[in-house]
């Protein structure tokens, strides 16, 4: 694996071995010395052109716990603010001999383009409204654990077969939904996406999913109820009349939770708007996997970094 740009580039075998590896990395997290020497001598640049706390921190920790040197660069305070193009900045750093770039950028497709500019590996940490593959991987990791530990599924190659994942929220502005849809297809889950018509991406009809606007009807079918954040900062005009109307139609309220299957669990990639797309009752419920997702973030990113930088010879 040279780059990690899209969740759709991964085969089922690759996904499964990444998730298995993440299990090993997760164990390391509970040790007092949380460090493995696997990436000693490698250098990883985290380039975040957009704000991020959990993704940036977890990539940084993942690199450090694998003994790589990690350097954070944000647009503010770098030569980008002097007007240097992203391409020139990256080529400069590439010439210094770094091994990988972890990039978050507001422009959809920017990260794919960047992969063509440099010799180093490129990992997509979120590009605009396009993709966020490591988020989808950590969601898959968390869901797989839930299917196995809570529901007692046989550990095998198809833990997602026969499972239904319902993704609800601001799908229009979400990169998480795109990566999740691609990964869940590879994993063989049934995926339903649900949003108000104004927040449904125009191309959704061609995705390998079932599309609905009716949250209440879809809810009882789901094994996983994944809520996505209403991204106010990306909204340029009114997509729904009021928050109350949004909650009435698409918020995961305490009343709605009662409609879920007993065995179903709740996910949210964070950061949450408590009281909007998800109520505090749901976020803090016993069947909420939200903190498990955060905890999986570092382990999954360690696995991805190891797959990309751990060896020599299988690079394309």
């Amino acid at each position: 694996m040279k780059h990690l740009l899209s969740a759709g580039d991964l085969s089922l075998d690759e996904v499964m071995s990444l998730l298995d590896l993440a299990e090993q990395m997760h164990d390391v997290q509970s040790r007092s010395i949380k460090k493995l020497p696997a990436l000693r001598g490698r250098t990883i640049i985290n380039m975040f052109f957009e704000d991020s706390t959990r993704t940036r921190t977890s990539f940084e920790l993942a690199g450090k716990w694998l003994s790589a040197d990690t350097i954070n660069i944000s647009a503010k305070g770098s030569s980008v603010s002097k007007g240097e193009s992203m391409k020139d900045t990256m080529r400069t750093l590439d010439a210094m001999g770094v091994d990988a770039f972890v990039i978050r950028h507001a422009g959809s497709g920017t990260v794919h383009q960047a992969a063509g500019w440099v010799r180093a590996s490129v990992i997509n940490a979120g590009d605009g409204q396009h993709e966020h593959p490591t988020q989808a991987l950590l969601d898959a990791y968390t869901m797989r654990r839930h299917f196995r530990d809570a529901l007692g599924a046989e550990p095998g190659d198809r833990p997602f077969a026969g499972r239904t994942v319902l993704i609800t929220g601001d799908l229009l502005h979400s990169r998480v939904v795109r990566s999740n849809v691609l990964l869940l297809r590879t994993l063989g889950a049934r995926t339903i996406i649900c949003a108000p018509p104004t927040l449904m991406p125009s191309g959704a009809a061609s995705w390998p999913v079932e599309v609905t606007n009716d949250f209440d009807a879809a809810l009882p079918e789901a094994d996983i109820v994944m809520m996505l954040r209403v991204q106010r900062e990306r909204m340029t005009s009114g997509y729904f009349p009021s928050e109350r109307e949004y909650i009435a139609g698409w918020g995961l309220t305490a009343t709605r939770m009662a409609r879920m299957k007993d065995s179903a669990a709740i996910c949210h990639p964070g950061p949450m708007n408590r009281g909007l797309e998800i109520s505090s009752e749901a976020a803090d419920a016993a069947n909420s996997l939200i903190l498990d997702q955060v905890s999986a973030g570092v382990a999954v990113r360690m696995a991805a970094l190891y797959q990309i930088l751990g060896g020599e010879g299988d690079v394309a």
């Binding site: 694996m1 071995s17 590896l21 090993q24 164990d27 040790r31 010395i33 460090k35 493995l36 020497p37 696997a38 001598g41 694998l66 190891y306 797959q307 751990g310 060896g311 020599e312 010879g313 299988d314």
Partner: protein, 198 residues
Amino acid sequence: MTTTPTSPTDNRVILDDADVARAITRLASSLVEAERGTDRLVLLGIHTRGVPLARRIRASIEAIEGVEVPLGELDITMYRDDLRRQPTRPVGRTRVPVSIDGATVVLVDDVLYSGRTVVAALDALKDLGRPAAVRLVVLVDRGHREVPVRPDHVGRDLPTAADEHVSVLLREIDGIDEVRLGRAPAEPTPTTDREENR
């Protein structure tokens, strides 16, 4: 170094299943004798074939002493000194059920060759705690050390040529218990104890 049981290059059987069983019993009793009992012993099998081997040594200790010694497994892939020279390797499970601080850790592996795997295992142990002592138990010592490492208990000393090839086959993984010596297949001389983890 291991290959599939049907490999035509594995021509000479050095230990058969009865020999392997006797070697394991002897390893268990000499270990217990040298340590004067089982107090604070922790057995750690090194992936892949060290793991079932450690399990059998534990069963043997239980038969002799009536004590169940804590048993764990150690994957040293990420501690290998040649990690970067090869395609990305799959990583096995590391599971250490008890704290190794102050314990006598017994590393168990199938073949001792260059000794580099043991060095990697010692590095891995360092990240898990500080044992009072570390011992090394191997089923076969085939020589050709590249680092100053020496085993404490050996099932069989097996002088070999560098181009020879030792295969340890264990029931749990390979279906039979056997140690074979043959001509190495046409590939570069390995500088590590084993070529692959699985």
